[in-house]
């Protein structure tokens, strides 16, 4: 029952996104122009861009992209539609569907971002599958924690600033793990070195999903 609900809600979000392409295209353009701005600011002195800087800048771009992309996940719904959902589906279905949908969205955006970034600024990654795995975990992690935060922020009045303020502290531990893991992948270290980070990331994701699942019904009621 819940599973069916989630599938329906994900399909609804995908169809909505497909019909109003401006939001998705806007995010693509956001990624593209941010990467290009980075290229131009580093391009003047190409020796500045060491590997740690390359890695950190990529993750910061991904972080800001995900905050901007996910912030609208609850704000775009108008009041009437929310009331309609309230009467036909369970809140657990809504939050899980939003998490899955945002994960898909973030995966597409993160991959596009990585490819464009690597083309423009050069690709020092030695262990590409491992790096892609860290991007995958990053997309899942960002979307799980940011979905709940965007639900909280959408209830408040000045939700633009609030989204950033609420989400950054929650996301920093995840970001630190991801940066370390992707740095290992760039340096082509043995895969077992990233095992600790991988487990911690999965554990944080599990905690965040469980807590969102439990807490969202209270948030939705208002």
């Amino acid at each position: 029952m819940l599973f069916k609900e989630i599938l329906y809600l994900i399909r609804k979000d995908l169809v909505l996104e497909w019909r109003q392409k401006y939001a998705f295209n806007g995010m693509l353009l956001y990624v593209g122009s941010t990467v290009f701005v980075c290229y131009l600011s580093f391009g003047l002195r190409s020796n500045v861009l060491t590997v740690p800087v390359w890695n950190a800048v990529l993750w910061i771009i991904l972080l800001f992209t995900s905050v901007n992309a996910i912030a609208k996940s609850f704000m775009q719904e108008n009041r009437g539609r929310l009331l309609y959902f309230y009467s036909i589906v369970s809140p657990q279905g809504v939050i899980l569907a939003k998490i899955v949908y945002n994960t898909l969205l973030m995966l597409v955006l993160a991959l596009v971002c990585f490819v464009f970034y690597a083309v423009v600024l050069g690709n020092p990654v030695q262990d590409v599958p491992m790096f892609l795995l860290s991007i995958l975990l990053g997309a899942v992690g960002f979307s799980t924690s940011l979905t709940m935060i965007s639900g909280i922020a959408s209830k408040a009045s000045n939700n633009g600033t609030l989204m950033a303020v609420l989400s950054f502290p929650v996301i920093i531990p995840m970001l630190l793990m991801l940066i370390k893991m992707s740095k290992n992948a760039i340096d082509g270290l043995d895969r077992s070195t990233s095992f600790d980070e991988l487990l911690t990331l999965l554990a944080i994701n599990m905690i965040v999903i469980t807590v969102s699942y439990i807490l969202f019904p209270y948030l939705w009621r208002s």
Partner: protein, 220 residues
């Protein structure tokens, strides 16, 4: 004697300050006399964790059964927790300057505690952005629980994965290994108890005051 624990708090703190400043401490290289900070810096963290836990418990209580009292206690406990956190960071930075050479040396525990404080500052900002009391109480309770669940792995797991300058992490021996001898324990445990009780006392007074103020508004 309903207020025995308040008298106990005062006695414990008087003992902590007096014995902490005057008693004999082990002579250790680098640490020297700064080891007395153990009685002030470490209890701040114990107190902060416990008081933030109280805040989360009252947030959960609010979600189960909404009442203004639970909300006020959760809010005041979060504020006192922040106070303890700031004091813990300040005393820690002072100690770090003398022993590690820098106020801020990119230690994972230092970073984790700074992030933890950011979370609770965000909680206060979130609270202040609602005008309606019930909505504010419910949504900030949700964020409080969410943030606490995200803070716990941060404070306890992350520093253990990486090297830290703090004792007990990344190859540094813990207190038990060399310097936590019985004379230190004799002051340390009362200090932890005393500072924590002081925190609970502050929360108690502040939330009672706030609840009275709420009643005054309602009747006015």
């Amino acid at each position: 004697m309903k207020n025995w624990w308040k008298i106990l708090t005062v006695l414990l703190l008087v003992f902590t300050v007096a014995a902490g400043m005057l008693s004999d401490v082990p002579r250790l290289a680098i640490l020297n006399e700064t080891i007395r900070n153990l009685y002030f810096h470490v209890p701040m963290w114990f107190g902060m964790i416990l008081i933030l836990l109280i805040s989360v418990v009252y947030s959960i209580k609010y979600l189960r059964k909404p009442s203004i009292e639970s909300d006020i206690i959760a809010h005041e406990a979060a504020r006192v927790g922040i106070l303890f956190g700031v004091l813990g960071i300040v005393t820690g930075m002072e100690w770090a300057k003398f022993t590690w050479g820098e106020y801020w040396s990119n230690d994972p525990k230092q970073n984790a505690s700074a992030i933890g404080l950011l979370i609770y500052f965000a909680y206060l900002v979130l609270r202040s952005s609602f005008a309606e009391q019930q909505q504010r109480a419910r949504i900030s309770a949700v964020y409080n629980i969410f943030a606490f669940a995200a803070l716990i792995p941060l404070l306890f797991i992350l520093p253990r994965l990486t090297d830290s300058l703090h004792p007990g992490n990344g190859g540094n021996p813990g207190f038990n290994a060399y310097d936590m001898d019985s004379s230190l324990r004799l002051v340390f445990y009362p200090a932890v108890l005393g500072w924590t009780l002081l925190g609970i006392w502050i929360v108690n007074i502040k939330s009672r005051l706030e609840i009275l103020r709420q009643r005054l508004y309602e009747n006015a």
